[in-house]
Amino acid sequence: MINLVSRADELLESKAVQVVIGYEAGSTGKARPAFITDPSKTGSLIFDDRCVQNLAVYLTKKEVRYFGKAAIVATLPIMRSIMMLISEQQVFAENIVVLGVSAEGKYIDIAGIEVMQQYIATCDLGNPAKDQETLAMLNKMSTQQKFDFWQKELSKCIKCYACRQACPMCYCTRCAVECNQPQWIPVQSNLHGNTDWHILRAMHLAGRCISCGECGRACPVNIPCHLLTMHMADQVHNYFNVYAGTTDKMSSVMSTFEPNDKESFIQ
């Protein structure tokens, strides 16, 4: 990743950005997010198979924003997240420099949003193959079987909200579950409250989820909650022929009306 390091170095040295968000070696063999502000420290940047976290979540974090302009190491899901965040006016394109990394782990030069859009257009935007397989298996189940599957999984939920916090698209400073006047869903972590929470999360991400799978990875009790949002991504694609995060001007599928929208689901 010589190119990644030298580009990061160059950007910090020339003060084009104030922070580089990337990955570094963590504890016990893990990789973890790194925030580099000093050009002499860019050598600690790494990129390998362990670098899977969706770093776009940090673009809306207060303390990261304090630094100023940021360069961010971005694989396809991160690029798509950035597109969504710009579309939803949470970050501004002029405040971000994208250090692209291809699916093969090679540095790619992303000189601006248009280049990123062109790159995204060349990629497969469906759900990752492994997750798509699991979804296909779930879709073959009867309604009762599906319900049983999810009840078993969701009974494990402890409502730590790691799924929410890990998601770049869950940037609300006050989540619906944190309101208690009224209480939208039961706050308690029981089967009812847990089920409501995961349905609420999936619905809020419909048309916005870019299938990175970060929510499922973050879950400390291994609930495959990313399958819920990925299923929504699939549905949105089927009904509206839209994949989230392909341009910086996405209109929200679930809150806009187009005359040619299919209405087959409300028959």
């Binding site: 973890r32 997010p33 207060k62 990261v64 909200y161 916090q165 944190e178 972590s189 973050a218």
Partner: protein
């Protein structure tokens, strides 16, 4: 009470388990379908495991459940009736096979819940609990009990501690009156302990907690907190898997005229933590909440509760999606 050491043969353990299960709920570790280790109520003895390193969740829920109902109420036209929870319905539970870090955590929780006013829910659950601990013969890179004054065979919090022997049997250390009652009731299952060799893991000490506590006194404004928590995403995973985290939220939930008030786990990592009704939050960014977490466990608790707020189980570091490794940070804090 003076500790008595006995030996319990492997085949007698099953008998002890079955006898205890006759009139108590058993809570024991099992292997879950998704490769995690979890605790479950009344598993069959054949399911119970003895060689696990750590369960994903701690066993604090036995005394501090995820959701604890506090009162029930009915709102009528002109008045309201409030019903207390019948604490006598809390069942007798045997916690079986919990590691010393987890059993020691009950002492920490007691120092919080029974600090001044005794929390009757917690106290009743603890009173109804018998703890049969299991010393560790396995550990991993996240374990750091020896850095917080404990060890793989600490007896803190256990009524009986089972220590694995190299021959496959167990040494049983009878530590409390509750433990003694079990020994008396099932004396036929125990044999005299004859200095048989124990099998324990070695956990390397990573830091000196007294030095950490000392350094934290001067560390409030240190840039360390921001530098080392930029990656923290502010979820509650660390607090919810933690055996000593005791924060809770109180909520009312009603359906028609009937409702209940309950308390459920909460976390200092969340943005709502210490948010005032005015909108001001003295801990408005994540680094301040992370600092609170460390200071609470390693500075405020030693000062106020005379106990450390950490037992070195390493669960938070294992569960953290962004590698906020607590032992690594404490090691660094020792020398700032």
């Amino acid at each position: 009470m003076e500790t008595t050491s006995k030996t319990i043969r492997k085949h007698s353990l099953e008998k002890l388990y079955a006898s205890l299960a006759e009139n108590r709920k058993m809570y024991a570790p099992v292997a879950e379908a998704d490769n995690r280790i979890g605790y479950k109520y009344n598993p069959d003895f054949s399911e119970v495991i003895f060689d696990h390193i750590q369960s994903t969740l701690s066993v604090k829920n036995v005394v501090f459940p995820r959701v604890e109902n506090v009162i029930f109420y009915t709102n009528n036209k002109n008045d309201s009736t409030v019903t207390d929870v019948d604490l006598n319905k809390i069942p007798e539970v045997v916690l079986w096979g919990a590691h010393p870090c987890d059993t020691a955590a009950y002492d920490v929780l007691r120092s919080i819940f029974c600090w001044d006013t005794k929390d009757e829910f917690f106290a009743k659950r603890l009173e109804k609990l018998v703890v049969i601990g299991l010393a560790c013969h396995k550990s991993d890179a996240h374990c750091f009990c020896t850095s917080v004054g404990l060890s793989p065979d600490s007896t803190k919090g256990s009524d009986i501690l089972l220590v694995p022997l190299t021959n496959g049997d167990y040494k049983a250390e009878i530590l409390t009156e509750k433990g003694n009652r079990i020994l008396t009731d099932f004396s036929g299952l125990f044999e005299p302990y004859q200095d048989e060799e124990t099998k324990l893991t070695h956990v390397e000490q990573q830091f000196d907690h007294k030095q950490v506590t000392q350094h934290l006194k001067e560390a409030f404004e240190n840039p360390f907190w921001v530098e080392n928590s930029l990656r923290c995403i502010g979820c509650g995973a660390c607090a919810y898997v933690c055996p000593t985290c005791a924060c809770f939220d109180i909520q009312d939930e009603a359906k028609g005229k009937n409702g209940k008030r309950y308390r459920s786990w909460d976390s200092c990592g969340f943005g709502l933590f210490t948010l005032h009704t005015s909108g001001h939050n003295p801990r408005e960014v994540q680094s301040q909440r992370w600092r609170q977490r460390i200071l609470h466990k390693f500075s405020y608790m030693p000062e106020r509760n005379a106990s450390l707020g950490c037992v070195g189980c390493g669960r938070c570091s294992r569960a953290c999606p962004v590698d906020m490794n607590i032992a690594e940070q404490l090691q660094a804090l020792q020398s700032i």
